[in-house]
Symmetry: C2
Subunit: 198 residues, 2 copies
């Protein structure tokens, strides 16, 4: 049985994008080396350091399904039915799109009854593999509801000042995690994974 | 010549305290081990892990003067004139207190013309040692003005949801830092230091 793991490139002040959704320098590490990583769908290859490439390959190999919010789905047009890491995705939405052009790929699933149902559906699809949860409102809801097993942070040495937080819309709380189980130094990023204490 | 370094215990979402200024679990690592660290003034001893104790001792030995905001000064009553790490401090304030009882210690200095002047004054006092800058508005102003050489983060594995940010009141910007020069794993904290790219 896989885990449920959120993951995002995050600034030192905890943001995953500028207020206008631009990730700015948070994705610099995707081009910080010379190991080519070929993506599925439309996205051009990345070029990672060997440290980041090892981490990335392990991450992609572990994930069997993603859970994403409607905003990310809309921004990317649902990756035209093929997510860069090549796995199916479950979209949490109040109202599934009726005119999405790439529905026939079978890779996009829509769940209308909340984060818990979405993660349950993603677990079914992932089978023995893990479920990846996107940052933002989705990650905030999943963390607050105790649905995450791990939090992965690609910590980027930059201060954005303002933006979209990794864990959005959670009430003031102190959700304790364990000490990092993994710390990988790379260029323009440090990869960290924290277990959620349950 | 010393450096100018900000430092704070920080949640994974970039906060240094709850909205009511309570640090909550951010200071758990001060009691996570059995190495006793004796503080100056009123503060009882800490009990750190050996990893954190080594880091802490190095940090305290490096600092010759601190720069703090008026809020922290008021909350602590200026540490009754004796900061826990035993060094003088410069308070950035529009209006110095006229009735501060501990002025005769000579450890508290008041600068009314902004962060740049306060850091300049602290450098004079620190001599060859470094200047420590407290988190919050002061750190935000210092970072935005290009006055910091390094950012130290005691990264605590907890998500607070809301609170006071490490770098407050800075305009949306991308202040780039270098990859961490130091990463120390401990219990309830990971100590990180990032150079500011100039």
């Amino acid at each position: 049985m896989g885990k449920v793991v959120s993951s995002a490139s995050t600034s030192l002040d905890g943001f995953v994008a500028y207020p206008d959704n631009d990730p700015g320098p948070l994705f610099d590490w995707y081009e910080a080396g010379d190991v080519e990583i070929v993506n599925h769908g439309d996205l051009p290859p990345f070029h990672l350091t060997s440290e980041s490439a090892d981490y990335w390959t392990g991450w992609v190999g572990e994930i069997g399904c993603l859970v994403v919010g409607r905003l990310l789905f809309d921004i990317t047009d649902g990756w035209k039915g093929e997510h860069p890491i090549g796995v199916p995705f479950v979209v949490v939405t109040h109202e599934p799109p009726t005119d999405w052009k790439w529905g026939s790929t079978g890779n996009g699933h829509f769940v209308t009854d909340g984060i818990e149902a979405a993660i349950a559906r993603a677990k079914e699809i992932a089978g023995d593999k893990s479920v990846g949860v996107a940052a933002g409102t989705i990650a905030g809801q999943a963390l607050a509801a105790g649905l995450l097993d791990e939090v992965a942070i690609d910590l980027v040495p930059v201060v954005l000042g303002k933006g979209h937080p990794y864990f959005a819309d959670i009430a003031p709380a102190d959700v304790k995690l364990g000490d990092p189980t993994l710390i990988i130094r790379s260029s323009r990023v440090t990869h960290l994974r924290f277990p959620v204490v349950k």
